[in-house]
């Protein structure tokens, strides 16, 4: 099969770090990610199935891995070499478009054949699984980071039935491939505990930010949703998806002050807000975004880290003095809705993708052979007017081989 494989290779990793610093996405040219002909992954168990990816998205966490900016935190919970790609719409083996599925990539207890399952998996909180480095599979927090399962950036992979969600016949591949990141966004939005009338700030209007805006509008009672966006296409989409205000990142502090009517410290320039937004959802995860999030949230407010952070240097004095809650929102599982009902995040995501026409966020697709172009495009999506970049495997020759 044809696959992009990420191997453990220290010199190449070092080259990727340097290249990625010079130009985001450039790690793909010189780093450990290589296009290879590989044997298809073996089925890890009798109930596993083989899938043939149709589209597979490039996520921010993928870009961080390629450019070597990911935290070393991940080392014990990934296994090399792995085939990236965890945003996947695929065909079951032997079908071609008639039996499509979306993969829920978290490799929890069930996929690892661990019985009894951990407490988190028992609750349906798959993202919090405590056994992602144990069981029948090699370590890997998700498909796309585990050497046993393969990933979406290939013509073949394997999945456990518990990971598979059928795609309705009338849903496009583009819409289906956006379901996984939409589930992340919904989980983040619901985890933020937003109450009626809350003012919510979303930092970042990349894919995750835009999907979070849509999720906040659809599944929370947020009153005002303020979003930062750098580029015209992002601004337009943020507004379409439900942001009440779209602001340039440098203008956020002043905009939050105006909107919330709070006082500020500083003589015309704002050093610090006295109050602020009720909730901030950070969809970037950088040092600057975390700092900004803490600066614009009100005392006793909540900051949700939905974008993947790494090492950041942040002054937490304000968090302490203002009793701010900073918390992470990773992946998905099962959500409790306002009416008390429990639903799988992926089910909610399917609804939202359809309702808000989120398939339109897939801006461009590339064949595997143009992976450096694809990664470069994804790394510069904002300035190039793009949102989600994906690999298109549908026309790969290897895909049709038995």
């Amino acid at each position: 099969m044809k696959a992009l494989q990420f191997e453990r290779n220290v010199p190449r990793y070092a080259a990727a770090v340097l290249a990625g610093r010079a130009m985001p996405g450039a790690g793909a040219r010189v780093g450990p990610l290589r296009l290879r002909d590989l044997d298809a992954p073996r089925l890890p168990g009798p109930d596993w199935v083989e899938l043939r990816p149709r589209l597979s998205g490039i996520c921010g966490s993928d870009l961080a891995t390629i450019d070597g900016t990911s935290s070393r935190y991940f080392e014990p919970i990934v296994s090399f070499p792995f085939v990236p790609g965890h945003e996947i719409v695929a065909d079951r083996k032997g079908t071609d478009g008639s039996d499509r599925v979306v993969v829920e990539p978290v490799l929890g207890c069930v996929t690892r054949n661990i019985n009894p399952v951990c407490a988190a998996c028992a609750r349906g909180d798959l993202g919090n699984c405590e056994r992602i480095a144990f069981g029948d599979l090699e370590p890997g927090l998700q498909t796309g980071f585990c050497c046993d399962t393969g990933g979406g950036w290939s013509t073949r992979m394997v999945a456990h039935p518990s990971q598979i969600h059928p795609v309705p016949a009338d849903m496009s591949d583009e819409a289906a491939v956006i379901v996984e990141p939409t589930a992340c966004a919904i989980h983040g939005a619901l985890a933020a505990g937003i109450r009626d009338g809350d003012t919510v700030v979303v930092i970042g209007s990349g894919t995750l930010g835009l999907l979070t805006i849509a999720a906040l509008r659809a599944y929370t009672p947020a009153s005002i949703i303020m979003a930062t966006a750098k580029y015209p296409a992002q601004r337009e989409l943020a507004q379409e998806l439900g942001a009440t205000q779209v602001i340039a990142p440098s203008e956020l502090k002043r905009a939050v002050r105006r909107t919330t009517g709070t006082l500020a410290l500083g003589d015309g320039d704002i050093d610090r807000l006295a109050g602020g937004a009720d909730v901030v959802v950070d969809c970037v995860g950088s040092e600057a975004s975390v700092t900004e999030a803490l600066a614009v949230v009100r005392p006793k407010g909540r900051v949700a880290m939905v974008g993947m952070p790494g090492h950041v240097h942040v002054d937490l004095t304000g968090l302490w003095q203002r009793e701010i809650t900073l918390f992470g929102a990773y992946a998905y599982g099962t959500e409790t809705l306002d009416d008390g009902s429990r639903r799988r995040t992926f089910d909610l995501a399917f609804d939202l993708v359809r309702g808000a026409d989120l398939g339109r966020l897939v801006t461009a697709t590339y064949p595997l052979s143009r992976f450096t172009d694809a990664v470069a495009h994804a790394a510069a999506a904002g300035p190039r007017g793009a949102v989600k970049i994906a690999f298109d495997l549908r026309n790969e020759r290897e895909r049709t081989r038995a």
């Binding site: 602001i247 002043r254 002050r257 009517g261 500083g266």
Partner: protein, 531 residues
């Protein structure tokens, strides 16, 4: 005998004309055969004996008023209000006119045994004046005698304990002014009438009032019906202030109005800046060398240095008249004296109006000319410097030259930043802006805090700047800014152009290829009397 202003028809022999361009200048060639330049009058002769003229005015009042000495008595409460930092432009060399007038008023008050005297900078919703600025306006002697005792201070339009509602006009306009001024036995208001808009009932009804009162005339409808606001009899802004003045008078607020006019001597008759008030074809070789040298130096300087140099300029304005007494009678005489300096007869309208905007307007003294102020200076003040009809036809094009930096003074203009970033990003329509945003800015607690305790313009002030241009926006078909920051110009809703020639080319889309052009050669100030 100073030469009056006049209109020059541009021909092939006409030299390039001076355009102010913020803290710099440009020389531009206007198309011959279809362009004309309105030049201001030369500076009128100043009064020979300023102190004597002031005294004469105080004891020989106009209208139904007794001489000032007759109005002063022991035990009375006397309040002296004076124009703030926005006048004159640029700030004048010491001694400031206000100082000269106030010293004489105080001498008379002292002679009459008046010992309850307070002085108030009538700044309405403008920023508070600093100690240095107050000292410059009233002089050290007055400042040191009153300020340390809390008897010389800035008006605070957000101090509910020091405002009083006098009443409402027959059109329902609330008249609320400074309580001390209202409850005094006599309010003496000291004006510097740099343009015909200044003075009259606008001094007290605006300068000492609050948002509650100001909103009745500082609004889009009023400004769109003030054609122009420099012509009191065609200005709804003034009609409203005059109605408020009637309420003040009828309620017993006793005002002794002192108005002064100054000449056009902005840049002096000697020194490197003097060339700026000469007509280009009269520039000597020395003038040209001085100008080119000055421009070459400015071109090489950082913007901050240029700003600092220009803002430190103190103009050698000289007083041309002083009159005192009853408000309306005084103002009639003052307006005639302002017109003597500023009015230039102009025949008919043209398709395009060009202007070079200088570094200063009423709201950036010792500060930064931000993009909103650029708009206000061009579409507000300069556009409205007409009587009769605008020198540019309805649907015509306005071309302004100014660098229009995306830059704000955070201490002076905090609400301007938010207005620019948040309001103008959404709409530039003054009616929509007024309806949707004005109240929230006007009542914003932080802006109120900064206005009262720091040196910030009131939260609503950028709205007024925008409304000031509402008549021009309604009248014009297109506005182009030459040499401005492209993003800032677009945020204002205007078109950016790199050069005047580009701008004229762009304008031809609106007014045709053979469009006629009028250039307003201002400053020094002129007012087009268009028939």
């Amino acid at each position: 005998m100073p030469r009056p202003g006049f209109v020059l028809d541009v021909d092939r022999a006409t030299p390039p004309v001076l355009f102010h361009h913020g803290e710099n200048f440009k020389l531009e060639k206007l198309p011959p055969g279809r362009s004309r330049i309105i030049y201001p009058g030369e500076p009128l002769e100043p009064l020979d004996d300023i102190e004597g003229a002031i005294h004469h005015a105080l004891v020989n009042p106009h209208g139904d008023s007794e001489p000032l000495p007759a109005l002063l008595r022991p035990g009375m409460r006397l309040t002296i209000a004076f124009d703030d930092i926005s006048l004159p432009l640029p700030p004048m060399k010491r001694p400031d006119i206000r100082q000269r007038v106030i010293e004489q008023v105080l001498d008379l008050a002292a002679a009459a045994g008046v010992d309850d005297v307070e002085l108030i900078a009538a700044l309405a919703l403008h920023r508070r004046m600093t100690e240095d600025e107050l000292r410059h306006a009233v002089g050290d002697r007055v400042y040191d005698a009153f300020a340390p005792h809390g008897l010389l201070y800035n008006h605070d339009a957000e101090d509910p304990d020091n405002l009083t509602l006098i009443g409402t006009t027959d059109q329902g306009e609330e008249v609320e002014i400074n309580k001390r001024a209202a409850e005094s036995d006599l309010l003496v208001y000291v004006n510097i009438n740099i343009v015909s808009m200044d003075g009259g009932w606008k001094s007290t009804a605006t300068g000492l009032s609050s948002y509650r009162s100001l909103r009745h005339h500082h609004n889009v409808k009023t400004m769109q019906h003030s054609k122009s606001f420099m012509d009191r009899h065609a200005s709804e802004l003034h009609s409203s202030n005059w109605r408020m003045g009637k309420v003040l008078r009828d309620s017993g607020v006793k005002v002794f109005q002192i108005e002064t006019t100054i000449n056009n001597n902005v840049f002096g008759t000697e020194g490197p800046m003097s060339v700026l008030q000469k007509r280009e074809w009269e520039w000597t070789t020395r003038d040209r060398v001085a100008f080119m040298g000055m421009k070459a130096g400015l071109d090489r300087m950082p913007a901050r240095t240029r700003r600092s140099i220009f803002q430190s300029w103190r103009a050698p304005h000289q007083m041309t008249s002083v009159q005192a007494g009853e408000v309306e009678a005084v103002h009639e005489v003052t307006t005639a004296n302002v017109y003597k300096q500023h009015l230039v007869p102009v025949e008919g309208q043209t398709d395009i109006l060009t202007m070079g905007l200088p570094y200063i307007c009423p709201y950036n003294v010792n500060s930064i000319m931000n993009p909103i102020l650029v708009m206000c200076l061009g579409l507000g003040y300069f556009f409205n410097l007409y009587r009769g009809k605008p020198p540019v036809r309805e649907g015509g094009v306005l071309i302004m030259s100014h660098p229009t930096p995306w830059e704000f003074h955070p201490v002076h203009h905090p609400s301007y930043i938010d207005f620019f970033e948040q309001v103008l990003a959404e709409t530039t329509d003054p009616i929509e802006i007024e309806a949707k945003y004005e109240k929230s800015f006007a009542e914003d607690e932080w802006y109120r805090h900064l206005y009262r305790t720091s040196y910030a313009y009131h939260g609503v002030h950028p709205f007024y700047m925008w409304y000031w241009g509402a008549h021009a926006m309604q009248h014009l078909g297109q506005v182009i800014i030459v040499g401005g920051d492209v993003r800032a110009v677009r945020r204002l809703g205007f078109k950016p152009a790199s050069t005047l020639q580009d701008a004229l080319e762009m304008a031809s889309d609106t007014v045709g290829r053979d469009a006629t052009i009028t250039h307003l050669h201002n400053p020094p100030i002129l007012m087009a009397d268009v028939t």
